[in-house]
């Protein structure tokens, strides 16, 4: 007997009304698969052209246990999710779809995974994202829903895997603001990895992931404070913004550290041309 998806019962939290005009097509596909589920590898690839690729829209929303960005989800992604829920896709079937899918099918499956129970299949799919290094898949797994954060919190993946995924996210220079709930994954270990990557890049004369400063501020490792304060004087607007955000995120600013940060923020403030950064510097410049 094929393994059940993640070894847990299927979630049923995706409201079918979200499928809009694609709902009849989804119902037909489900009926076809209930009659012969060996058709799954044939039905799944056609979903984008049949259900449509237009974004669902509606921004970030909580649906069941998941938080997803419906501006990134397309109608076919929701059809895929609903279909896989309804037929209670097994681990083996889901992995087969991923391994033999094209780029778009894989992205569709990763988005759908937000609505499937956390478990071994989630871990396997996230492992494939880590291994294959495709930007679209990294975005589907880390940006279009909070799958990574939930998988890490649930213990579906260990901290080392979560850290390696976020390190690759940084390596691909993807924006932290799109990685839903990634701030929950901040840790000293991750900060150390990000800082080491930054140092390697700097030594090679290459650009550093701008969000490094913001992320290490949440869980500073040795050397992070100096990097953050130095970041306030960086020539790149994005780095200065990230450094200011990182300093504001410092988890326990002692009086001495707060005074030190306030001093450098105050020094920078009159010379800072960007209003959004100035606003953050003003907050940092008030140690109380």
């Amino acid at each position: 007997m094929a393994a059940r998806y993640g070894g847990r019962p299927m979630a049923t939290t995706l409201p079918p009304e979200l499928l809009g005009p694609a709902e009849p097509l989804a119902r037909d596909a489900i009926a076809e698969l209930r009659a012969d589920r060996s058709r799954l590898p044939v039905v799944f690839p056609g979903l984008p052209r049949k259900a449509g690729r237009e974004p669902v829209g509606g921004g970030c929303q909580a649906i069941g246990d998941a938080r997803v960005d419906l501006d990134a989800f397309r109608r076919c992604d929701l059809v895929a999710a609903w279909l896989l829920q309804e037929i209670a896709v097994t681990h083996d079937e889901a992995v087969d779809l991923f391994l033999h899918g094209d780029i778009e099918e894989r992205a569709m499956l990763l988005r759908a995974a937000n609505f499937l129970p956390l478990g071994d299949t989630t871990a396997r799919l996230l492992g494939e994202v880590l291994r294959t290094n495709v930007v679209l898949h990294m975005e589907a797994a880390l940006c279009d829903g909070d799958l990574l954060a939930r998988a890490a919190a649930h213990g579906t993946i260990d901290a080392e895997t979560a850290n390696r995924l976020l390190l690759k996210f940084a390596f691909l220079d993807l924006p932290l603001e799109r990685a839903l709930a990634a701030e929950r994954l901040a840790s000293v270990e991750l900060s150390t990895m990000l800082q080491d990557l930054a140092t390697e890049r700097e030594a090679a004369g290459r650009a550093v992931w701008r969000d490094t400063w913001q992320m290490v501020g949440r869980a500073p490792c040795p050397g992070a404070i100096a990097r953050l304060i130095g970041g306030l004087e960086h020539g790149d607007d994005g780095v200065r913004l990230s450094a200011a955000k990182g300093l504001l995120a410092l988890p326990d600013r002692t009086a001495g550290l707060a005074a030190e940060v306030a001093r450098y923020a105050g020094e920078r403030l009159p010379r800072e041309p960007r209003p959004v950064i100035r606003e953050l510097l003003q907050r940092l410049a008030q140690p109380a």
């Binding site: 590898p41 044939v42 690839p45 056609g46 052209r49 033999h100 780029i103 294959t132 290094n133």
Partner: protein, 293 residues
């Protein structure tokens, strides 16, 4: 002038060819699944090959602004190989539904055996089930008889002629196919098969309706630039530009557009080119700076 190259085996070509094609106006290529010059010994080799056609090759083409499409099928030569033939037929339905697959092919005849005929007939049925047109490889030996037999099989299967492209045609085969309602493909080769000059003569005599031209470039002595070269020869011979454009752009789109997965609007812009993108961590750059290319 925009060009749709409707038969080229980029799997066997180097990345520089994509760049040359792009510079010559090739906006889209169609890569039929085919024979690799050596028999495959297990179905797994076909799986990997089919997945290259929908994966790495698409990525590689896109880096040069070229849209990559394919046809999926069991080629006639390996249809004779009992180690793989039935197993390949069994896995084809999944690949026929892939978004960039716009037909079934190359199918057809090579040695003109009964086994080839059986698998050609079964793949016509496969195409019907997936609502796809078919690209038919015709024999290089005893071509006239092979053409006629291919047509017989299409008729026996009651497959619509307008969804059939009989490829590797020449002056002799036109006389057989012209009034059937099927499409005719001409593979322009540097030294053998059809030359640009002969193609000009065919166009002048028979026109361009339901014709496509291709390079069929592969691992052998062939030239991926044969369609652009033939375009020049056609224009030099006085064939009106809009007629040439219909031959090398609109006709292949019209034929493969019968799949419902391809139309001219989709090709209005070059494929997204982002030389920084990787496919499974692999890039065409080999360490080069994308800003300097």
């Amino acid at each position: 002038m925009l060009i749709f190259e409707p038969h080229i085996h980029m799997f066997s070509r180097i990345t520089d060819d994509y760049e040359k094609l792009s510079f010559a106006g090739v906006r889209a290529v169609l890569e039929p699944a085919f024979w690799l010059g050596q028999s495959r010994t297990s179905v797994g080799s076909f799986v990997d090959y089919f997945e290259t056609l929908i994966g790495w090759e698409r990525h590689r083409a896109q880096q040069f602004g070229i849209h990559h499409f394919c046809t999926m099928g069991l080629n006639p030569r390996e249809a004779n190989d009992d180690r793989v033939n039935q197993a390949v037929l069994d896995i084809l339905p999944r690949y026929c539904e892939k978004d960039s697959c716009v037909g079934v092919g190359e199918i057809g005849l090579d040695d003109q055996t009964k086994t080839e005929e059986k698998f050609m007939a079964e793949q016509l049925e496969l195409a019907r089930r997936h609502d796809l047109p078919v690209l038919v490889h015709t024999p290089h030996r005893d071509k006239k008889k092979g053409f006629e037999r291919c047509i017989d099989i299409v008729r026996e299967q009651n497959f619509p002629m307008e969804r059939v492209l009989l490829d590797h045609g020449n002056e002799e085969t036109i006389k057989i196919t012209r009034d059937l309602g099927c499409w005719s493909g001409f593979s322009i080769y540097p030294n053998t098969k059809m030359s640009p000059q002969r193609m000009v003569a065919i166009v002048q005599e028979y026109g361009i309706e339901r014709f496509v031209i291709n390079s069929a470039a592969d691992w052998g002595v062939s030239d991926p630039m044969m369609v652009p070269r033939t375009v020049v020869k056609l224009e030099q011979a006085g064939v009106p530009r809009e007629r040439v454009e219909q031959l090398v752009w609109k006709n292949p789109i019209r034929f493969f557009g019968q799949s419902g997965r391809l139309d001219e609007a989709m090709l209005a812009k070059p494929a997204t080119a982002n030389l920084r993108e990787t496919f499974e961590g692999n890039s065409v750059l080999r360490g080069q700076d994308p800003d300097k290319l």
